[in-house]
């Protein structure tokens, strides 16, 4: 069959326009809150206004009497619910509204259902709550907070760090901090639930329809086959859609009670307290190096905040263990339980925070040594996976550094602080390296070929803007030898074959390998049909001897010996043939290689007005090893978008929690800063390396790597321009006034 290395291939890698572009540019792509059902009613949530304590009384009578109201559900009237299942990403959030305890500000304490959204919102304001407040733990360094040590068992230790520091000529030992950030996908998270008997259809802003299906089934004690979850389009996620949050459960609960379809759209302020956020961190990092620039020891200790009774996977320091060849190393992660809404994954979780400290501190070491920071990184390059001791399945980080430096013009950098100027502007160059972790989990897909010669390929994945629709259409077209417009790839429906979450930069790899196998198995199905068919030029051919091209299969060594899919189907009276495929992540020990995620080198030029403290990012070059690139255009967009997220983390975002009450003080788009068009320069993306060796298709996820490294690269550039080392995100004007 067609291999991906076929030189005649035309579809893979090419920057074709998104196949869903006509829908998205005309308003015809339907997101969860674009759906409506006959008889649908609307829910609104009441959130706690304290962060810790108990509900002394909750009076819903006035709300219940308000026009249009069908029901008001509180913990006093809510049915008893089980907690959702353990998932690939850890436990589900605790079931909502099960008792009178308040664990964080904004906790859902009542749900109001009314005929119209206006009526529901108004009635929600009439629910009268009296609290018995308790003192809330809100500070990550509060000594009273319960501490979880090494929560994921990912702490690392190799060599002897004390001995390593003793050998060092230079030791940098600093404290870095990062704030809470809120994912804030533009699409307000929406759930619609419509019950019919013991079955339910759910529209949800999710990155993982199967997880919603499993959770709803378990929580409401109904069979999974009775739950259908739809998410053909999602207005962004950035991690917020990885879990089945309480509002989705409450929507299903309310719909079951009122026996009508119910729609719930979170408000923007509720998006700050209901669907996760990047937790703040305090990091202590210590790096030792010899005067010639050999790293002798790295010690990285981090603490993140987490909710009182929920969990979040956030190993901030762990990533430092694989970034450099360094004989003596220790990483240690901790979490502090606080009265906060539960954190969750936000684009490049943990890596986004940990890399800021590591790559800034590496720059500090370079400065202390008087060495070019690029040279220091190349000198301590990890040729092998430092923990597993295995060769990487692919690693073109060196190429990223060298090609990125060339494109950026790194050699023009004069090392002395403040030595580069442009008129009144101080100019700084900074860089950072990125080693993104590998993540992949099993995935399935199904491919069908119809009697008209068109193909239909499905998997219950989501396309949260990543380009999944497009790259899987390309891949299937390539594997089946069809034109792009003869292939439809569909996703976002839990009745389709199982797909894992769009998360961890792992979906494209898992899904591509499943689609590849499904298409290969489909070709085998065709060959099976004609195995003993005297009328077929393919009679008795094995899959390995056949190429798919131009809507037909032919013997690879004799292109004229072949026939069209449609001929085979017609002759055998078949309407269609289908085949399944599945992928499983490779095991490093079995393949003798450390499975590699993406790598990257980020080069940044900043401009600083020293009188006004203005900071502008003028140029960015991102050099990325993303393995095989399935679509140059959408992959570049992923890197560009990630880079914007990184600029945002570096210079804009900070979720402010009021120290007294636990209230989010800036939970609006007017107050929570994010970059707008004028904040973002044109940027360059170059891809380095080639297909990864660990899987058939050889992609490496590119959804998150683009964000990582930006905060450090910008901070390093600020230091180059001003001599100020900023160790606390975000970099704001007050830190820059000189």
């Amino acid at each position: 069959m067609t291999t991906l290395e076929d030189p005649t291939r035309t579809v893979i890698g090419e920057g074709v326009d998104r196949v869903d572009a006509p829908l998205k540019t005309t308003g015809a792509a339907h997101y969860p809150n674009d759906y409506t059902y006959p008889g649908m009613v609307h829910a609104a949530l009441v959130g706690s206004t304290i962060a810790a304590g108990r509900i002394r009384s909750i009076d819903a009578s006035e709300a219940q009497r308000a026009p249009g109201v069908l029901t008001v559900i509180t913990h006093l009237t809510a049915p008893q619910l089980e907690r959702g299942p353990m998932t690939l990403l850890g436990p589900s959030p605790p079931a909502p509204m099960q008792d009178d305890r308040i664990l964080h500000y904004g906790q859902h304490i009542a749900v109001v259902v009314a005929d119209s959204p206006e009526q529901a919102r108004h009635a929600a304001s009439l629910v009268n709550v009296e609290y018995e407040p308790a003192e809330a733990l809100l500070d990550i360094e509060d000594p009273r907070a319960e501490i979880l040590e090494n929560p994921w068992g990912l702490d690392s230790e190799r060599g002897d760090v004390s001995a390593g520091f003793a050998q060092a000529d230079v030791v940098v030992d600093e404290r870095y901090t990062t704030p809470d950030n809120t994912n804030n996908p533009l699409g307000l998270f929406t759930s619609i639930a419509s019950w019919h008997g013991d079955s339910v259809t759910v529209h949800d802003s999710t990155q993982w329809p199967h997880n919603v299906r499993t959770s709803i089934a378990q929580i409401f004690r109904i069979p999974e086959s009775g739950v259908r979850v739809l998410a053909p389009f999602v207005g962004g996620g950035f991690g917020a859609g990885l879990r089945v949050w309480c509002h989705t459960i409450l929507t299903a609960m309310a719909a079951r009670e009122v026996k009508r379809p119910v729609k719930l759209v979170l408000t923007r302020p509720q998006m700050f307290t209901s669907v996760g956020h990047r937790p703040n961190s305090v990091q202590h990092i210590k790096i030792g190096a010899t005067s010639s620039g050999d790293l002798t020891a790295i010690e990285h200790r981090a603490i993140s905040s987490v909710a009182m009774e929920d969990d979040d996977y956030e190993p901030v320091a762990a990533g430092s263990a694989v970034a450099y060849e360094c004989p003596n190393l220790l990483t240690h992660d901790r979490q502090a339980r606080l009265n906060i809404p539960c954190p969750g994954s936000m684009r490049a979780p943990a890596e986004g925070q940990g890399n800021f400290a590591l790559e800034s501190a590496i720059d500090e070491v370079a400065h202390a040594l008087g060495m070019d920071p690029l040279e220091l990184r190349l000198r301590n390059y990890a040729e092998q996976h430092p923990v597993l001791g295995l060769p990487w399945s692919s690693k073109a980080l060196r190429e990223c550094y060298t090609l990125g430096a060339e494109r950026f013009g790194w050699s023009r950098r004069t090392p002395a602080i403040g030595s580069m100027r442009d008129g009144d502007w101080l100019v700084g160059y900074g860089l950072a390296g990125v080693s993104y972790p590998f993540y992949q989990v099993p995935c399935q897909a199904r491919a069908s070929l119809r009697r008209d010669g068109s193909a239909y390929v499905t998997s219950a994945a989501t396309d949260i803007g990543t380009g999944t629709y497009t790259v899987m259409t390309q891949l299937a077209a390539e594997c089946l030898g069809l034109d792009l417009n003869r292939v439809r790839f569909d996703l976002g429906d839990s009745d389709m074959p199982y797909s894992p979450q769009a998360g961890g930069s792992g979906l494209t790899g898992a899904l591509a390998n499943a689609v590849h196998m499904a298409c290969g198995n489909l070709v085998r199905e065709f060959l099976d049909i004609v195995r003993d068919d005297d009328a077929s030029p393919l009679r008795g051919a094995a899959a390995e001897e056949v190429t798919a091209s131009g809507g037909r299969l032919h013997r690879t060594d004799a292109p004229d010996q072949g026939e069209a899919y449609t001929d085979i189907l017609n002759r055998h009276g078949l309407e269609e043939l289908s085949a399944d495929g599945r992928s499983t992540p490779p095991d490093p020990q079995k393949i003798g290689m450390a499975t590699a995620g993406a790598f990257g080198a980020k080069f940044v030029e900043v401009r600083i007005d020293p009188q006004l403290g203005l900071l502008r990012v003028a140029r960015v070059v991102s050099a990325i090893d993303g393995g095989r690139i399935l679509n140059e255009k959408t992959a570049s967009s992923q890197i560009t978008g990630g880079t914007v997220g990184g600029i945002s983390q570096a210079m804009f975002e900070e979720t402010a929690t009021d120290a007294g009450t636990g209230r989010i003080a800036n939970a609006t788009f007017g107050d929570y800063l994010m970059p707008v068009n004028a904040d973002i320069p044109d940027m360059e993306v170059i891809f380095c390396g080639g297909p990864d060796r660990a899987t058939t298709v050889g992609t490496k996820g590119v959804g998150e790597v683009g964000l990582v490294g930006m905060a450090a690269a910008i901070g390093n550039a600020i230091h180059h321009a001003t001599g100020r080392r900023l160790r606390s995100l975000p970099f704001t004007i007050d830190q820059l006034l000189l």
Binding site: P22, G27, G68, G187, S637, T640, G641, M674, V676, N677
Partner: protein, 176 residues
């Protein structure tokens, strides 16, 4: 004239809030509606007329996803009460195609990959249409500045600018 009524349950007063009668001229068609007076222009379009192109991203006038044209000028429709727009000419993304042929900006957004999740795209395109009419698409600096009311959380800003530049230069070429 099309009539659209707010759903009410039989035998029940709709609200203490008085309903309002309003005629919205949307994409060239008049729609006579009786609405709860609290209904925003955005919700009237989306929930009552089924025109879901305009999106709700913040409901606070800060993200631009709900941008529509009123008498040719862009507004954030989430901060507008429907009742205030009686008789006005409203254009949404759905009204941009000409006999099924996409507007040049719709095609340019596709060509330049000027979106990812696509949720902000209707607002971005409507703002970009308006930008041309306002004469603010002449320079990169203008495009940056006057497209800054439309947030794209996926970070497609450089591609959004490229799409707008492309259409502006095509228009300039055509007029030479």
């Amino acid at each position: 004239m099309k009539h659209v009524d707010t759903p009410t349950r039989p035998g029940e007063a709709t609200s203490e809030i008085p309903d309002v009668e309003v005629t919205l001229n949307v994409n060239g068609d008049p729609y006579r509606m009786r609405l709860d007076s609290r209904v925003t222009l955005l919700d009237a379009l989306r929930d009552h007329l089924g025109l879901t192109g305009a999106k709700k991203g913040c409901d606070q006038g800060a993200c631009g996803a709900c941008t529509v044209l009123v008498d040719g000028k862009r507004i954030v429709s989430c901060l507008a009460l429907a009742a205030q727009y009686d008789g006005r000419e409203i254009t949404t993304l759905e009204g941009l195609t000409d006999d099924g042929e996409p507007h040049p900006l719709q095609k340019a957004f596709a060509r330049h990959d000027a979106f990812q999740c696509g949720y902000c795209t209707p607002g971005q395109i409507m703002s970009a249409v308006s930008l041309q009419a306002e004469g603010r698409a002449g320079t990169d600096a203008d495009i940056c500045e006057f497209m800054s009311g439309n947030i794209c959380r996926c970070g497609a800003y450089p591609n959004i600018r490229a799409a707008i530049r492309d259409v502006v230069s095509e228009a300039n070429d055509a007029s030479v």
